[in-house]
Symmetry: C2
Subunit: 342 residues, 2 copies
């Protein structure tokens, strides 16, 4: 995939509520500098807090890409949307979409994009082919987010780490493995959509050899303990050859996401199992911290949970939103002088 | 995928040596009753020991499917092959292929098959879509082959188990997860070609709920210790919800297949890691035996290796080719009266 060009205009369509625009909200949160405005249609109940902007105004403002960061109703792209998307192509915008169904599969859109010389980025669907993972050690340092479950804040935690590391002058790049992350970074691979044989190869491609002190901060997916998706998580661990893991956790979840019969694993077991697997391709892998999404807890309880977690595992434990990730970056910097040690 | 119809005529093309016809040889070995003949072109150096048979003679003999069980030179289907395949379609045969490149992608073949109402089975490429794995426990018993490495005899061992169990009157079905296995069984899923999110879901589909005393004998793929393919192996473990594992091993391998820097793991570690992973979706999973491909050892050494392995792990250890798998089926039968215990 080539890089998605910025600035962006965020298309919210007729999103029925704020949750339907979750992807767009993630992009606007992490890339306020490139999200110049939002385009909302009649019936839209979402709001990113960005200026409302017509396609024509966006063109004046220098926007290059219309980003569809919204779940469409019923899985089909409505006629009303199509008119806006066609108009955007005619005005010279590329389209980038986090939808399950591909823009490239809609003949009206695909044909017009080809005729206008515009690009379509269906970021959930990798278009390039990958090599099988080689397992060969490559220069550069890598950190991977792993989790007790899916959707526990791995993207948020890894983006926060990239931001904090860059603020300290460290060489660090976020590497996106899911659709929201790709729209934020401008490129990446939806690893869960890669053919199974190539999971680790795709991650090797995503985080290639680099300067010895450069950090790739790789967004994780799924969990080794998730009965549906663990294969993706294991391929990610092996392809990343991670020097450092951060364990991400959401403490109020009653069971694994989508699997009522499966309890969330203890943090300790999850760290151990991930280290065990990571050490196949990097024997020096260590865990450098725990990122907890405490949004479901009152502030006092959240603080107590973080304190107890840090003590129990002898690792920094933070909520990236409430506290930032400075203690984890401290640990990475302290470890970087010699071998990273947990 | 619908079931591939038998009997088969085995197409060997212009195979440059016996190894190039490995897939066809596997099918002929395990399904001698349905492989009525072989079709060899000028320059073919492979021989399955089947009667040489023209397409016309095969039609007379009742053959339904021409099976392309041979690696083609240079990855392209040659003009000379195409003439034979077209003739086969015109004579009313379906085509089943274990090639990397798809018959369905060759317009001359695809168009003719459609016109003649014949089916094309590109068994390396799943065509159906799968649900995400549910992790829900389903009735019936399941055994899965796991390995210290790729290509250590998992298919051979699981087919031998199916044969021995059926000979004892047990209800057992081999479930194929790779191209040769699919051509042998007539259906199955190439799990390494499934989109990563659906690995465990594809295996749940492949081995659906069944009678409580029925055994699905599931062909394994890869190894949890293979840096390229472990994600596939983990998805297989979780989707299979295996009651029983057999560990497959090849004792003369200098390193993991294709990965010179990676040693083959100790059998003990491999059993433990596989049980640990399997128990996420079936807490009662046990290992019931070790299948060793001793073809690289002299007979005396092979016997000693099997004896020592059996004693070290307190499990039956057999070479399915040299000794058959009776001791493993004994253990399965002894365990089946109560909980399977290792």
């Amino acid at each position: 995939m080539s890089h998605i060009e910025t600035p962006y205009l965020m298309f919210l369509g007729d999103a029925k509520d704020q949750l339907a625009a979750k992807t767009a909200a993630g992009v606007a949160h992490w890339r306020p500098d490139v999200c110049l405005g939002q385009l909302r249609m009649a019936g839209c109940n979402a709001d990113l807090g960005l200026p409302d902007m017509s396609l024509e105004a966006a063109r004046e403002a220098g926007v290059r890409t219309l980003v569809i960061g919204v779940a469409n109703r019923g899985g089909v792209i409505s006629e009303a949307w199509l008119e806006v998307l066609e108009q955007a192509l005619k005005l010279g915008f590329d389209l980038a979409s986090g939808l399950h169904n591909k823009l490239a599969d809609v003949p009206r859109i695909a044909d017009l994009a080809a005729a206008e010389g515009r690009q379509l980025f269906d970021v959930r669907h990798p278009t390039q082919s990958f090599e099988v993972g080689s397992g060969r050690k490559r220069p550069g340092k890598r950190l991977l987010g792993v989790g007790t479950d899916c959707s526990v804040g791995k993207m948020y935690a890894t983006l926060a780490l990239e931001r904090e590391m860059k603020a300290r002058g460290l060489a660090a790049d976020f590497r996106a493995t899911g659709q929201t992350g790709i729209l934020i970074a401008g490129d990446g691979v939806s690893v869960d959509a890669v053919v199974a044989d190539f999971i680790s190869g795709a991650v090797e491609w995503l985080s290639p050899e680099n300067e010895p002190d450069h950090w790739d901060i790789i967004e994780g997916q799924g969990s080794l303990f998730h009965a549906s998706y663990a294969g993706v998580s294991l391929g990610l661990l092996h392809g990343a050859q991670a020097d450092a893991l951060i364990l991400c956790h959401e403490p109020t979840r009653p069971h694994m996401r989508g699997l009522p019969e499966y309890p969330v694993p203890p943090i300790h077991d999850c760290i151990q199992r991930n280290l065990e697997a990571a050490r196949l391709t990097n024997s020096a892998a260590v865990c450098v911290g725990i990122a907890v999404n405490t949004s479901g807890l009152p502030e006092e309880e959240a603080r107590r949970f973080l304190d107890e977690t840090a003590e129990a595992h002898n690792l920094p434990a933070v909520d990236p939103v409430r506290n930032g990730v400075a203690p984890i970056v401290d640990k990475i910097q302290n470890g970087a002088s010699g071998r990273l040690a947990s």
